[in-house]
């Protein structure tokens, strides 16, 4: 591990290092901590919904706080930092540079995350991760909401700084002998995602300032009683956060581009189509934000434009899936744990995308809007695709980080249980949505169909929870006592790819 990359150093030296692998380690550990904290909230939410009525949570306000912090934590404190962790480890190695372009900026970007996480968790805001006005502007409870807004500001600055660092590292610091078209697809995914962040995030930053001044009572941008327009916030929010969805999913696909050729023991089927699809996704990601808002009374023309803009993401996504399939086709695949997570992730990516295409059709969207369908749909992306890709990649990095091998059998059980649980929870939620169950509810009407489907989902969530417990045990135990990995080829695949463990020795 970076922990052990060079001569063993005291842990505080790693914590305050600016070397890219050390910062990568900090990102990894922080994001995993928040993954388990946010996951615990998810289990609480599912336990509450196991039966109608109040089970373990006293009132709806507490429930609102729980799913708000659950969503905020897992998106901003798990998925994004984990992608940064992978980028920190691999991007400099892949472009053959000694470190990130701006090492100190890199460390600053990381150290903004713990205080932001503390603000989110100590405030425990209750206005959902959208913070939609007028509620958030007028009535959301005091310091909690303001703490959440400041945390988002900090996280926004952090991701912009990280994105600038990646862009400069890839474009300006790559080895002169390495043409951009030969830069590995994992690094390309970080280039496209970083460009999206730089374009998209400022809009939300502006919306947050407007929201804050609304809350302070000095302005009324989103307060209808002062002539403001709550819908304007939604436009600003989704202009950032629909592209942000691609910021999350593109690095996860990049991770699969690293794992799938390696475990198929073949080069990627088409490097250029992968690059093209990443760039396409980064562009069309900006043409679909208002599909979150079909029911806010937009004109038919607007809705049609955004429907087509949404469907434009389909070919690019399908290119990735076909690229994966063509790479695996007829190859001598070794189904080690990272490969299982990637293939499972592709299957769920396809399912999530199919639901998304159906949902993009606006007549259907009016039925599914704000129902559990939406919850099932985006969780298939964030859990089924992005978290699956990320967890698989962590298994892939594990021997390089610790010098030891994880327990393969436990890794496979972890995958099988998570896959089954994810299907149980999120496929069921699609059906639940079609039966009309609204999202963000603390209690529901005791229809037999609702009860049965909620119970299937809750049992699935518990299965995921147990498998994640298995995972953390595997990680901790194997990093201490796992068998020593063969650092040149931990999975006996034959041949060599990159040599993450040979990253330059930290000098800082």
């Amino acid at each position: 591990m970076v922990l052990e990359l060079a001569k063993p150093r005291p842990i505080w030296q790693i914590m305050f290092s600016t070397h890219h692998t050390d910062v990568g380690l900090l990102y990894t550990l922080t994001s995993l901590t928040f993954f388990f904290l946010g996951g615990a909230l998810a289990l609480g939410i599912r336990a509450e919904l196991f039966l109608p009525g109040s089970q373990i949570i006293a009132d709806s306000m507490t429930f609102n706080r729980m799913f708000t912090v659950h969503g905020t934590t897992l998106i901003f404190l798990f998925l994004l930092p984990f992608a940064s962790a992978v980028g920190n480890y691999f991007v400099p190695i892949m472009v053959r540079y000694k470190d990130m372009a701006y090492p100190k900026l890199n460390a600053v970007a990381f150290w903004m995350i713990p205080p932001a996480g503390a603000l989110i968790w100590l405030g425990f805001a209750d206005f959902t991760w959208y913070a939609t006005p007028p509620y958030s502007a007028i009535r959301a409870p005091g310091p909690a909401a303001d703490m959440w807004i400041f945390a988002q500001k900090i996280l926004g600055v952090s991701s912009v700084l990280g994105a600038i660092n990646f862009v400069v590292t890839i474009l300006k610091c790559k080895h002169p002998d390495l043409p951009l078209s030969k830069v590995p697809l994992l690094a390309w995914s970080f280039l496209s995602a970083s460009l999206i962040i730089i374009v998209a995030v400022p809009t939300f930053a502006a919306a947050l300032v407007m929201l804050l001044t609304d809350r302070l009572g000095v302005s009324g941008f989103f307060d209808p009683s002062k002539g403001g327009d709550p819908i304007a916030y939604q436009h600003l929010f989704w202009f950032t956060f629909h592209p942000e969805v691609y910021v999350l999913v593109i690095p996860a696909i990049g991770m699969m581009y690293e794992i799938i050729p390696r475990f198929s023991r073949r080069p990627i089927f088409s490097q250029s189509s992968g690059i093209f699809a990443f760039v396409m996704l980064a562009i069309v990601g900006f043409s679909s934000w208002a599909h979150h808002m079909y029911s806010t009374g937009m004109s038919f023309t607007e809705k049609t434009v955004f429907m087509i803009g949404t469907l434009a993401a389909v070919p690019a996504s399908a290119m990735h899936v076909f690229n994966f399939i063509a790479t695996m086709w007829g190859a001598r695949i070794r189904f080690a744990t990272p490969m299982m997570w990637s293939v499972g992730g592709i299957a769920l990516f396809f399912s999530a995308g199919a639901g998304g295409v159906a949902n993009a059709a606006m007549p259907f969207d009016f039925i599914t809007h704000d129902s559990y369908w939406v919850v099932g749909h985006f969780h298939l992306f964030v859990m089924g695709t992005i978290a699956f890709g990320s967890i698989g990649f962590l298994y892939y990095m594990f021997p390089y980080i610790t010098g030891r091998m994880y327990n393969e059998a436990m890794g496979k059980i972890h995958f099988i249980m998570s896959m089954a649980g994810t299907v149980m929870v999120f496929f069921t939620q699609h059906v639940l949505g079609l039966y009309g169950m609204p999202r963000r509810v603390f209690d529901y009407i005791p229809l037999p169909e609702y009860i049965v489907m909620n119970q299937i989902a809750s049992v699935g969530a518990m299965i995921i929870g147990i498998s994640m417990g298995l995972w953390i045990f595997n990680m901790i135990y194997s990093s201490a006592k796992g068998k020593e990995a063969n650092m040149d080829d931990p999975w006996n695949l034959g041949g060599k790819y990159y040599f993450p463990h040979q990253a330059k020795t930290p000098h800082h």
Binding site: K7, R65, A140, P143, G403, D443, A480
Partner: protein, 316 residues
């Protein structure tokens, strides 16, 4: 395999140190978090729930001892776009007005006959779901009445004026779940004030829809000016001029009970069922408003009030 530098692997001791740091951070954070538990389960100062808690018992009111029961039920239209008490808008018994005098105690028995969740309360606020008077609430938005459940509460009218009984689930009031409680002044039998010398003129014209299913004064239901509410002071001289612009026969009267065309008060009748105002005719009546209270002006032809020829006449 030879390496230029030896490979160092994580040792149990180092894993333990990392775990200690991470768990330490989480435990410290958890301690901070639960120290602030009271803060983050507290309600914002502007919230409905905080106001409910802040309301003390109603200020001392001389209770008249008069009590009456009001049964209400929550109902919804099948498309869920219209909500109401007792009957859907446009049908008999929709959101009934409740008349009371200061000091009267109203016992509510409220049943949820819909498919959604509802809660009950009485407020003075003209809109919104805040300011629920303590003791009148049945369930709450956070812990509502489920379909089929019912509850009881009571309301003692503490002062004159108009109160509203509503569904306290946010948004339901705006969709129609609201009715009035009109509280007259204290005293068992309100007395008419001395003539004030003030006089009012009102025009109330009978109108009918072309299919004759909707009747009203001045304008058809749903249009501006339909069954206007009239307010006068006790002792005022009131002149009502009434034209029959329809094609049927009508007659006018101010009644104390809207369902009983015979309960005419103040000698306010224009015509009667047997001697009605014919189509195109205009007649008028002048009278002195008597004891304060809430009355109705109706078409005294039986059945017409139920079809919509009914408005509020309030004597203050």
């Amino acid at each position: 395999m030879s390496h230029e530098t030896p490979i160092y692997r994580t040792s149990p001791a180092r894993t333990a140190k990392m775990m200690a740091i991470m768990c330490g951070v989480c435990i410290a954070g958890g301690l901070l978090f639960f120290t602030f538990w009271d803060f983050w389960i507290s309600m914002p100062p502007g919230s409905q729930m905080a106001k409910e808690a802040a309301h003390g018992p109603a200020p001392g009111v001389a209770v008249t001892g008069k009590e009456f029961d009001v049964e209400l039920s929550f109902i919804e239209s099948s498309d869920f776009k219209q909500l109401a008490f007792n009957a859907l808008p446009g049908t008999e018994g929709n959101n009934p007005d409740i008349m009371a005098n200061v000091g009267d105690k109203i016992e509510f028995v409220v049943t949820n006959n819909g498919k959604s969740f509802h809660a009950f309360g009485v407020t003075e606020a003209v809109e919104g779901f805040e300011g629920i008077i303590s003791g009148t609430e049945i369930a709450s938005a956070n812990s509502p009445l489920k379909p089929g459940q019912s509850g009881k509460s009571s309301f003692v009218a503490s002062k004159e004026g108009t109160f509203y009984y509503i569904c306290t689930v946010p948004g339901h009031r705006e969709m129609g779940m609201v009715g009035k409680i009109i509280v007259g002044p204290a005293g068992e039998a309100p007395k008419a004030a001395a003539p004030t010398g003030v006089s009012h003129n009102f025009d109330l014209n009978f109108v009918e829809s072309s299919d004759f299913k909707q009747l009203a004064f001045n304008a058809l239901p749903g249009t501006e000016g339909n069954n206007p509410e009239i307010k006068v002071k006790s002792g005022d001289t009131v002149t009502i001029k009434s034209s029959n612009t329809g094609i049927s026969f009508h007659s006018f009267g101010i009644v104390s009970d809207a369902d009983d065309p015979n309960s005419i008060v103040f000698n306010s009748a224009i015509g009667s069922m047997n001697n009605p105002i014919k189509p195109g005719e205009t007649k008028e009546v002048t009278f002195t408003a008597g004891a304060p209270g809430s009355y109705h002006y109706i078409c005294t032809v039986p059945g017409h009030a139920a079809l919509g020829m009914k408005g509020n006449f309030i004597v203050e």
